[in-house]
């Protein structure tokens, strides 16, 4: 369990102070996969560094697994950090050490016997699927392989939490999916809490169960991934969701074809995704909807539907919207 309470991080710069994190409180439950999404400069990388106190907050408290990190001595904090693994955008492997020695790095001097260390390292390298490279050096590996090594290294000390700072941002889409699947597997099999910092909503959609959206040092929206995706409140969240779906590309083409008509976007989740919404609208309001685009995706096994439609009349649209709202379906006019 990670609890951040009213965290503020300020950086003094020449002549002024930059507030990177502005009164953020956040709770991440054990075993959760929590995504924190935002554009660069939103403060998300600073926020994740507060979780292991690589960044000391200007004010606020950091409680990890029941321990108040700020109250700890330097020595006790270093010990506590061994329970919090971290991986990075640029992997940060030691170039002068073999893959095996990289994973061994956090274990050296921990009092564990050499034989036991070897067993653990080989098990971890096997888990991340890179055991055959154990005697290679990092420069001989691809980006995806390097991140696998970094994950093995982060897990070496048996942490309860894994922090991922833009861990897939330097990887190509296919490798990104593979690394995300690995993280998901680690979460499932080892029960490790994973916090994922990213600027790609696709990453959140792929594996997270919770998400927080950050803008200018604040969390502007948060919740379960399925809820946020089906009913995003803030424009920035809506933007992020668009970039994560296929709808963004589809929209431009569709709008070109129906120039002059009003297009509406319907979003629905859960059981509603399997119900005949449009027939319902026809029966109640006598409106015919023309489907331009429709898609159902599954997030954490919950269906999430998106539709772009035009109506043959705009008379009762206000009531339609209200009716849909009651059923948990959001309707909005697509702005051209």
């Amino acid at each position: 369990m990670i609890e951040l309470n009213d965290i503020v991080v300020k950086f003094p710069q020449k002549g002024h102070v930059v507030t990177a994190v502005n009164h953020v409180s956040l709770a991440v439950d054990d075993g959760s996969m929590y995504g924190i999404v935002g554009f660069s400069g939103a403060g998300k990388s600073t926020l994740v560094r507060v979780m292991n106190l690589l960044q000391k907050p200007t004010s606020g408290s950091v409680i990890v697994n029941g321990t108040d990190l700020i109250a700890l001595s330097e020595r006790a904090l270093r010990k506590e950090r061994r329970n919090i693994g971290m991986i990075f955008q640029h992997f940060n492997l030691m170039e002068s050490r073999t893959i095996f020695d990289n994973v061994d790095f956090p274990l050296k001097g921990s009092g564990i016997s050499k034989v036991e260390r070897r067993q653990r390292i080989e098990k971890l390298l096997d888990l991340v699927g890179i055991l055959e490279k154990k005697d290679a050096y990092p420069y001989q590996l691809s980006g995806g392989q390097k991140q696998r090594v970094a994950i093995a290294r982060a897990l070496a000390t048996d942490p309860k939490i894994l922090l991922c700072d833009e861990a897939t941002s330097a990887l190509d889409p296919k490798t990104t999916i593979a690394v995300l699947q690995l993280l998901k597997e680690i979460n499932d099999r080892l029960g490790i809490t994973i916090v994922i910092i990213t600027h790609e909503m696709q990453v959140v959609k792929e594996i997270c169960d919770h998400v927080a959206v950050m803008e200018e040092g604040k969390i502007i929206e948060r919740g379960e991934v399925a809820d946020i995706f089906s009913n995003p409140q803030k424009p920035l969240t809506q933007d992020f969701i668009r970039t994560a779906g296929h709808i963004d590309q589809a929209e431009t083409t569709i709008l070109e074809h129906v120039a002059g008509e009003d297009v509406y976007e319907l979003r629905f989740s859960g059981s509603r995704a399997s119900e005949p919404i449009l027939i319902d609208i026809y029966k109640r309001f006598g409106l015919t909807a023309n489907i331009l685009y429709a898609n159902v995706e599954y997030l954490q096994n919950k269906p999430l539907g998106t539709m772009l439609v035009t109506f043959d009349s705009s008379d009762q649209l206000g009531e339609v919207e209200q009716h849909l709202q009651q059923d948990g379906i959001s309707m909005s006019k697509v702005v051209r």
């Binding site: 292991n52 690589l54 330097e74 020595r75 270093r78 010990k79 506590e80 950090r81 061994r82 919090i84 693994g85 971290m86 990075f88 640029h90 940060n92 492997l93 030691m94 170039e95 002068s96 050490r97 790095f105 956090p106 050296k108 001097g109 050096y137 420069y139 970094a150 290294r153 000390t157 922090l163």
Partner: protein, 230 residues
């Protein structure tokens, strides 16, 4: 055949075989001992500069400023002037101001700031991300210095040592001008001042061989620790 060639072209140098052997030994001795002493002190100062710098692990602006100024000033004093200025200090430590042991003192003093800056720059090349990863793993500053900086920066450090040794050889030659020993003294006193060009020439060749050997050994060492990276 070779003997007569030597006698013809190197009339004086060919008579000085044992002098050259002794001078070479002195040069090697001065270089190696100065490198070891200046190496240890320079390494410590270089690491302190790294740690106390604004982006270091333990920023300390006043200490950094002092060290930085010492290094800057030390590097700015021309060696030939340092030789003269430092003489009372030399006499204080080694009891004399002439001879091989005596000139080792100014050579060490002249090399410390040079090497300290090299160490600082070499270690600054270590990826800050790797240092951050080590911090995240719970390593303390001292462990990071030894297990991350010195290990990951080893290639740059070896290059710095190599470069410093070659610079040192130059200093030992200059020290010959003020009563030091070694090949520099031979070249200046036995060769130049007596108009025996062949002696100067042979001393120069021996110094060049020493420099080349240093480079060859340094490069071999680099290949050994680079594991195909460099």
């Amino acid at each position: 055949m070779f003997g007569s060639f030597m006698e013809h072209y190197f009339p004086y140098a060919s008579q000085m075989g044992s002098d050259f052997t002794q001078a070479t030994e002195e040069t090697v001795l001065m270089t190696v001992s100065a490198m070891i002493i200046a190496g240890v002190i320079g390494l410590i100062i270089g690491i302190l500069l790294l740690l106390t710098g604004s982006r270091g692990l333990s920023p300390n602006a006043p200490l950094y400023w002092v060290l930085d100024q010492i290094v800057n000033i030390g590097r700015s004093i021309p060696f030939i002037i340092l030789l003269a200025i430092i003489m009372p200090f030399t006499r204080l430590i080694v009891g004399t101001s002439i001879g091989t042991t005596a000139v080792t003192v100014p050579i060490v003093v002249g090399t410390i700031p040079f090497f300290a800056r090299q160490v600082q720059n070499a270690l600054l090349e270590v990826d800050p991300g790797v240092v951050e990863a080590a911090q995240a793993m719970g390593l303390g500053n001292l462990a990071i210095v030894f297990r991350v900086y010195l290990k990951e920066g080893l290639i740059s450090l070896v290059r710095s040592v190599n470069f410093t040794i070659i610079n040192l050889i130059g200093l030992t030659a200059m020290a010959g001008a003020v009563g030091g020993g070694g090949l520099g003294a031979t070249a200046l006193q036995e060769g130049y001042q007596r108009g025996r060009t062949d002696v100067t020439f042979v001393a120069m060749i021996l110094i060049l061989i020493f420099v080349f050997l240093t480079q060859i050994i340094g490069n071999a060492l680099l290949r050994l620790i680079a594991h195909g990276r460099a």
